[in-house]
Amino acid sequence: MTENVKLSSEVVYDVKDLNLWYGKDQALRNINMQILKNRVTAIIGPSGCGKSTFIKTLNRMIENIPVVRTTGEINYHGTDIFDKSVRLEELRTRVGMVFQKPNPFPKSIYENVLYGPKIHGIKDKKILSEILETSLKAAALWDEVKDRLDDNAYGLSGGQQQRLCIARCLAVQPDVILMDEPTSALDPIATSKIEDLIETLKNQYSIVIVTHSMQQAARISDKTAFFLMGEMIEYDDTNIIFTSPRDKRTEDYVTGRFG
Amino acid sequence: GNSSESEGTQEEVTSEASELSGQVIVDGSGTVYPLMANIAENYMTNVQPGVSVQVGRAGSSAGFKKFIPGELDFADASRAIKDEEKAQLEEKGMKLGENVLEFKLALDGLTMVINKENTWAKEMTKDEIVKMYLSGSYNAEDVVKWSDIRADWPAEEIKFYGPNENHGTFEFFFEKILDEQDMVKTANLQQEYSTLVDLVSNDKNAIAFFGYGYYASNQDKLQAVHVDFGNGPVEPTLETIGEDLPYAGFTRPVFTYLNADYAKERPQVLDYAKFVVSKDGAAKLAGDNGFAPLPDSVYAEYQAQLEKLSQ
């Protein structure tokens, strides 16, 4: 199967020799990794190993922290995202992000979903309402909220909020969706809904998900990368990582011997 | 306020009865203030509702300091303009009698006030008053006791009060009564007349001097010293204050100074000036504010001077 994936898959991200420092502290060391199209890629590793740092580098959100410095390349569909010609706005509409804590805007559900299309200049009411419905349906939220689209998003439960954030992200039809522990603030039922959702979304989107639940990684991902202290120790098909990892440290981690 | 120059564009110099507008700015003597404010209000309510007369009461000297650079239309004063102030005017090309007109408004009686509970100093001679206020009369520290003045008075320290040097009243007292000799060092000089009234009305051993008007408004709190100018003690009242009357020794005229250039340029200033010296102005209202009016002939003379300006 490993062979298979490699051959048939298109590369979305090609990360080359990525290093990253917070001031003087190096948080990522020499990461080399290819992220594949229409696959769910899980990033696992103990706390502080650089998972969030890495995923935030993929849409350059990390640059909001002023002390950050990077070297290396991240090629997104062949273009280095660090290149001067790359417009952040464009990169980030193509690469959506879902955060650990649901972070809807304190606006109506309607305004939340359509935030992206609106700021990017879509004004046509008909198009907007189409986007609204499609995105909410795709995020498996439509039925629950269709009668209260004008309510404030903060009236929703945590799990619904997180799906709303996913809908908001889908509304601009991204190419990749980055998720940083999207279920860690949710209860088990909400978690399983989101996991199901990820399952269906991967047909259309490439998904990178950080998780600290190995069960979750095993359940939903196709590929898994194991990070440790800023290094990518191992990256392979998920079943290989969880059944026969090549590296002793990966094995220790996935069998619960540390972390 | 100092925007007198900027005004005066919208004048329609026609007949006397015309509706005037614009500003008239008055500042200066605090003694004159109640009278001038009264005149101003009468003018605005009964004569020219369109004109805005602003009255301040910074003190006579302070008034001249604003008048000389042209910030005012009128400067009220409880003393006549000083030579040095005339000189400063002349530096600006203004001459008293031509560019600046002096009007006596009324007569004021400088009143020595004491506390209601003071039972001894109700009558004093002018010399006693002068001596007690002079520095070094009794001792170098100027700590003066009532008993220093008359042996049978209490052996308690006198608290001297008065308006500060901003005020014409101070200067009148210092120049005309003390003959420019140093005042006691312990004197407590204040900017606001209200402060003086409070201080004296609450201190048995206090004595202060100011215009009769401020005493007249506060007769329930203060009593006036009856001054003996040689012919027996005289109580200051509207009947005794006057140049030929018993309280003449402490009587002084109060003034207002008009910037005649402004009066020529701006009809409302001239019109107001005429009102001030008219029979409805100072002459009529002086008594209400504790001043004795001047003889009618004086006001008539001023009217004539103003008529000349309007030609």
Binding site: R87, E89, E90, T93, R94, G116, P117, H120, G121, I122, I127, E130, I131, T134, A138, A171, V172, Q173, P174, D175, Q204 | A58, G59, S61, A62, K65, K66, I68, P69, E71, K159, N164, E165, N166, T186, N188, L189, Q190, Q191, E192, T195, D198, L199, S201, N202, D203
Partner: protein
């Protein structure tokens, strides 16, 4: 998702068309406005310094630091010590009122009061803090002074006790709320630790909370002092304008702020030494309060609790 329009393309088109005008202009506009705000400081310092310089160039320093203040006389003299003296006394009296009552209120509110009492008391204190100083001035003049004169017969009608006390009352909410903030910043766990050892609330307050919050509390005192130094209308109304250099608080004294008010309402004719003396006093006042504020910031930073 057949009906879904191709949003991705529409957006891409818009992004490439968008010239980001507001993104380019707004930061510049904001920078300009921010600069104006900041230039005010510079403006204040400049006006004060320029006019104060004119004052100092015409008055010898020995005279400035003398006790002889008679700015309006025939031979004016500009000794500043009576004003500093008056300022110190009113501030001292104010803080004698504000510190004990402010701190007590803070202790009560943060350590003893039930939530429901706090909810009533705090807003009422805020009301107290929001009353204009002219109102306090009127109150000092028309109520506190007459009352005090009944208690202290030798008190003069204009004195520094009455405005000092009223100023202190005015500053209570400031001291109380800043001290309370500092006390509330002490971690709950530390208070629990003390309570868990069998401490009474009082012991928690004095042995744990206040020592831990001491820097914030001191800073609140210093800010209170700064406020007292700068307070104007209360003293202008209730303490008179005597320029005598005296230590007798039953008598009238003049503060730096009251001097400015007296002088401008009396004699602000521009270009005179007296006019410039306003700015010299203003500069001094500015420096005093600045030093107090910096001191407050320094204290709360330097002794920032180590927990």
């Amino acid at each position: 998702m057949g009906s879904m329009p191709n949003v991705r393309e529409m957006i891409q088109l818009n992004i490439s068309k968008n010239k980001n005008t507001s993104d380019k202009i707004m930061p510049k506009f904001l920078f300009v406005t921010a600069s104006i705000s900041i230039l005010t400081t510079v403006g204040i310092i400049l006006t004060l310094v320029i006019d104060a310089a004119k004052f100092f160039s015409s008055v010898p320093l020995a005279e400035v630091f003398s006790t002889n203040l008679s700015p309006l006389g025939a031979n004016p003299s500009f000794g500043i010590l009576p004003l500093i003296n008056g300022t110190i006394f009113t501030t001292l009296i104010a803080m004698l009122v504000a510190i004990p009552f402010g701190l007590s209120s803070a202790i009560y509110l943060s350590q003893f009061a039930s939530e429901s009492k706090r909810k009533i008391l705090k807003p009422m204190m805020e009301v107290l803090a929001g009353i204009p100083t002219i109102v306090y001035g009127f109150f000092a003049y028309s109520f506190v002074t007459p009352l005090l004169m009944k208690i202290i017969p030798s008190l003069e009608a204009k004195n520094v006790i009455s405005p000092g006390i009223v100023m202190g009352i005015m500053i209570i909410p400031l001291v109380a709320s800043l001290s309370e903030d500092a006390m509330n910043a002490v971690p709950e766990s530390m208070k629990e630790g003390a309570l868990g050892l069998g401490s009474t609330r009082l012991e928690v307050a004095f042995k744990v909370v206040i020592p831990a919050a001491i820097s914030g509390i001191m800073a609140s005192f210093v800010l209170g002092i700064s406020r007292a130094i700068g307070e104007t209308m209360i003293v202008a109304i209730a303490s008179g304008s005597s320029k005598a250099f005296t230590f007798d608080i039953t008598r009238s004294m003049q503060t730096m702020t009251a001097y400015i008010v007296e002088f401008t309402s009396g004699d602000a004719g521009s270009g005179t030494v007296g006019y410039y003396s306003l700015y010299a006093v203003g500069l001094l006042l500015f420096l005093f309060t600045l030093i107090m504020n910096l001191l407050a910031q320094y204290i709360s930073k330097k002794y920032r609790e180590e927990y």
